[in-house]
């Protein structure tokens, strides 16, 4: 079965520092890939997605992610973190067969981001 791994449960950075959150997936083909962010008491907000094409994708709030097929990774980055970025971040995959999605998302365990002033 496919799986998604976010190796870091908790990351702490200083405001203004750069950020990279790691995500690896286990699946034979390239799934559709997503990053979501969740603030306390809120649902999940989509940051960005990768379906195909350019491996560097831009998202909202200044986030970007790079798909690396050879490493089965889809890491999330931001050059300068703001205090409002403190939240929990989830990587998710939508397995597909020949480009046809199975519909359901499989999520990683999440990474909690703390931002120090």
């Amino acid at each position: 079965a496919q799986s998604v791994t976010q190796p870091d449960i908790h990351i702490t950075v200083s405001e203004g520092a750069s950020l990279e959150l790691r995500c690896n997936y286990s699946y034979g083909a390239t799934p559709y890939l997503f990053w979501y962010v969740q603030s306390p008491g809120q649902g999940l907000q989509l940051l960005l997605k990768y379906f195909s094409g350019d491996t560097l994708v831009q998202g909202i709030k200044g986030f970007e992610a790079e798909f690396k097929r050879s490493q089965s990774s889809f890491n999330l980055r931001k050059p300068s973190v703001h205090w409002s970025d403190a939240a929990e971040y989830f990587c998710a995959v939508d397995v597909n067969a020949g480009g046809t999605s199975y519909g359901k998302l499989t999520f990683g365990q999440g990474t909690i981001l703390t931002v120090h002033p």
Binding site: G43, L44, A92, T100, S101, G103, K104, L105, Q109
Partner: protein, 113 residues
């Protein structure tokens, strides 16, 4: 509103009672999903509706869980004879089609006493 709406936002009930959770998807979205978020299990897929097709129920944890989607819009997730392990946040999402980005509601926090 423009987003996915879920009600109630919080539900506290006694063990053994039945509960119904409601989801109102984004207008025009043909796909609707239910997920469960708990401390021990993380985010888990429960069930998926796509248009008029039979739902994918492969994530439902037991036969106490069921869901329906009426008129291709509003969905209700029902949990019968609730157990303490059912305590979790139940999230609903919708998308314009299968494979398209899913937009989530704020969830229903269910607490079983």
């Amino acid at each position: 509103g423009a987003g996915v709406s879920q009600s109630p936002s919080n539900k506290v009930t006694e063990k053994g009672k039945d509960v119904e959770l409601r989801c109102d998807p984004i207008s025009g979205h043909t796909a609707l999903y239910w997920y469960r978020q708990s401390l021990g299990q993380g985010l888990e897929f429960l069930i998926y509706f796509q248009g008029n097709s039979a739902p994918d129920k492969s994530g439902l944890p037991s036969d106490r869980f069921s869901a329906e989607r009426t008129g291709g819009s509003v969905s209700t997730l029902t949990i019968q004879r609730t157990q303490q392990e059912d305590s979790a946040v139940y999230l609903c999402a919708s998308s314009s089609d299968r494979g398209q980005p899913q937009h989530f509601g704020d969830g229903t926090r269910l607490s079983i006493l």
